[in-house]
């Protein structure tokens, strides 16, 4: 068990007694969690539960007030802003709710952005694979304004995957989409996890989206209050009601 834990934490994200305070407010209150490798975890919680702060700390966008966050085995609490950025660039992928893409760049440029920022040469075969997988092979020269909301999220997902990150964080990726497009995007996320073994963390308050995950974490007042494995939308909605 110990060896397995070490192996897992070396490659994904682990949090140990993490707290984050803003003034007097404790947004995170002693979170300890390791995301299983190859797993699809949803994080749910009502507004003010610390959901966003959880995402910021777990992904290395922000530093915890106390406790340790390790990304790929590296303690981010000791890293400078620039080093943290570099670590994030190599190990973490992001999909946001909206304003995911740089409007002046075409689809391919947007996807390659993290590699370009890191000064790395793109792996053409992998790029084609990613583009094909998200279903944008015929759109690589389009600009974001010429794409639908669902297509834009696919570009964002391709960008998140192109660096072969340890973990992809998706922050309400379906929040701005209609139910049908949302379903398509969630199905794509699920497919990516199943086909490539990508570790994925989804932050959402939508039970329908969370139901695509292997397990759901419930946050309340900065603490993990429950975990549901292989949940159904009904079970999630039920647990949600009681928070």
């Amino acid at each position: 068990m110990t060896t397995m834990l070490a192996e897992t934490s070396a490659q994904t994200v682990s949090m140990e007694a993490v707290t984050k305070t803003y003034g007097d407010v404790r947004a995170l209150d002693g979170i300890t969690w390791t995301f299983p490798r190859g797993g699809f975890t949803a994080v749910m919680g009502p507004s003010g539960s610390g959901k966003s702060t959880f995402l910021h700390c777990a992904s290395g966008l922000d530093r915890p007030s106390s406790g340790t966050v390790r990304i790929g085995g590296v303690d981010i609490g000791r890293l400078s802003e620039a080093k943290r950025t570099r670590l994030r660039r190599e190990r973490i992928g992001f999909v946001f709710q909206s304003f995911n893409l740089v409007p002046s760049m075409d689809v391919e440029q947007n996807i390659l952005l993290p590699l370009q920022l890191g000064g790395m040469k793109p792996d053409r075969a992998w790029l084609d694979e990613v583009v094909r997988r998200v279903g944008l092979a015929d759109r690589v020269r389009h600009r974001p304004a010429e794409l639908s909301g669902g297509q834009q999220q696919r570009v964002a997902l391709a960008r998140a995957l192109v660096t072969r990150p340890d973990v992809v964080f998706a922050d309400e990726p379906t929040g701005a989409l209609d139910p049908r497009t949302a379903r398509e995007v969630m199905a794509l996320l699920r497919e990516v996890v199943d086909m490539t073994g990508q570790t994925l963390v989804l932050v959402t308050h939508d039970p329908a989206a969370a139901a695509w995950a292997d397990s759901v974490l419930f946050l309340s007042r900065g603490r993990i209050v429950d975990e549901l494995a292989a949940p159904s939308p009904a079970a999630i909605a039920n647990r949600w009601e009681s928070l």
């Binding site: 966008l61 950025t85 570099r86 304003f99 409007p103 002046s104």
Partner: protein, 819 residues
Amino acid sequence: MSGPSGANKGAFAGVFTALLFAAALVGACGTLVESAWRAHAPVERYGAATAVVTGPQSVTDRLRRVGDDPEKQSRPLTERSRVQVAAAQRLRTVHGVRAVVADVSFPVLTSTGRTMTGHGWDSAALRPYKLSTGRAPQAADEVVVSGSAGVRPGQVVQMQVSEKPRPYRVTGLVASGPAAAFFTTATANALYGHPGQADALAVLADGSVDDGALKTALRAAAPGLTIATGRARGDAEDLSVAAVRPDILEIGASLGGVAVMTALVVVGGLIALSVRERAREFALLRAVGATPWQVRWQIMRETLAVGAPAALLGGVLSLGVGAGMHRAMVRKGVLPDGFGLSLSPLPVLAAFAATLLTAVLTALIACLRASRIRPVEALGEAANEKAGLPRWRRVTGIVFLVLGLNALGASTATSGPTAAAAIGGLVMCLIVATALLGPLLAGLGNRVLGRAAATVAPVAGRMAQQASAAAAVRAGSVITPVALAVAFAGTQLFAQPTVAHATTQQAAAGIRADQVLMSAGPGIPSGAADAARRVPGIAAATPVKNTTVVMAVKELGEKNLRSLPARGVGADAGAVIDPRVRSGRLADLRGPSVALSRDVAAGLKVGSVAPMWLGDGTRADLRVVAVYDRGLGFGDVLLPHDLALAHSSTQLDDQVLVRGKADLRPALTGYAGVQAVDRGALDATLSQQLKLQGFVNYVVVVAIAGFIVIGLVTTLALATAARRRELTLLRLVGATRRQVLRMLRLEAVIVLGTGIAAGGLIAAVTLMAFAFAVTGLPLPSVSLTSSGLVLLAVGGSGAAAILVPARAILRRHASPKIS
């Protein structure tokens, strides 16, 4: 990464325009500076002379500096420093010298009203002037003149030098060259009036030694004298170009500096605005792995990509602008005719480098804070504008405000040049403080003007108040250029008229003469004053000789070498001028003595000794006999007439001030070109001179204020276009087009009003301090028309820049859509 596009095009177009303008201005100033650097009067009469030996043409002194090495300062002379003819003996012995001519020059007025310069016939070889007809002068009353004088050989002409005109017989004509009259050497020396001295010793070489070696040898043979070769020989002929050079260097450098400062403010505001506009984009870049420096480099690269072509184009255009400025200044008489234009790639390169450096520097400053944007902000819903002002900005702003107030204190506690220097610092400090504290000012303006707007128009006014309060930082970057434009134009436009007004007032109040003798030619012979004085009913007739003295004047605690306007006045000066003597007596102005205005007297009191250099560079320790108030009207220095005359290029007076109303015409019949006019004509000459000084001012105001207005318009247009979403949202939630436009109009009133009020306040404080320093009363001469024009230009272009894009956003018949 791809270049700028879409929404940023506006910002980059603005940055391009501003940098183009900056480069053109800096390059034009550079052209002026380079021209001044290289300018020599044209070589006319000394064309054949290899070298010209003169006395020193400038005064140099080492001035003590607190905690520093002494500073060497130098001022050009405005009168000739003569050389001893005896020195020519040693020069003749130098190997390679064929001949040395002791050259003398003096103005000659013919009875036909033509002015020419008189010389000895041996000076003709220096150009050389060749006889086209007739022969050289041999007798004391013979003369050779230029053909342009319109006389024929054998004719007798009346010529006036320093006394009444005398008849001379024309023996020959010379064809080309500047108008000249050649007398026998003996006659010329007698007319010149300085026995044993000459203006210059011109060296004609025999060609056996190269010029460089000859110059070295001459220097050894003439220690302490100035040896001019090549183009520098022109300055030995004509002092006027060398005399204005330092001033033009100073004007060019300071104008260039102001242009760079303005570019910093204008471009800085534009870049800050566009960075704020793109905050989400940068936050996204940060989130997907761009380090803060990568974002900063991108912003700087983008600025550079826009700035480089702008700076290059502006630099090239600057040659034309510089040439135009030079031409206008020559035409307006600000520059002497001989002041040539030098065009070279140097100013272009300087403008290119300075502008690019400014652009990158501003971009860096503007994005230092912005690219610290935390990547988490990309996840947020909307990019809210930060309300708080960073501490460093607050602290620096307050420091500049305190410095400004300190300068205000210094300017009111002192007077004259000290005060003027303090006031330059005052404007700069206040403007920088405004730029730094802009958002605070915006908040203050919003509270005052916003409340008024809300009272006038309850719905639109309140909306305007809220909008401008919410965007205090944005409003701050709009207020700064508005305040800058108003403050700059105000101080620049009205400072000079304040001086001009004070000058004419002081002169009007202090001149007690009933009549003034003026000359249509080079000046008034000294006998004219005596002749006027002998007329019954004339109480006093005082000759006035205008000259310049160089003196170390204390400014802001440090002594600087200054050229001060000085007048030599006759013994009965007290009867015709009243410079408002504070202490001492004007009547004591005899022998080695001086009267000083309080502006330059500083620590000097009646009885103390004032060290100075007279017009020809002679060092003199003069006893202070009086200190007076009206330094503007009568010059900062009054000298005894004979002292001023002895150290001037010519023996002619500039004016004779006469007390008494008797008809002077009979007494003056003998003199050519001298006429008595009433004193009104004197005031007219004075105001003409002041107008010339004002010309440079207007050029500066138009250039810089125009620049600021361009920056202002682009900033405002950009700021309004950036609000497309907000304005459309207002329409969506039910505001009518009229209401939104009304809101924007009121907002324009709030924001522009705050900027104009701030700029007006800066201008008012500065001008009042300036007026107090100059006249003793805090009353600047402000023209209502000019103020109105400035306010109209700033306010009108500002309002247009807000409302035109807004109207485009809120098209009348289109239904609102948020993209």
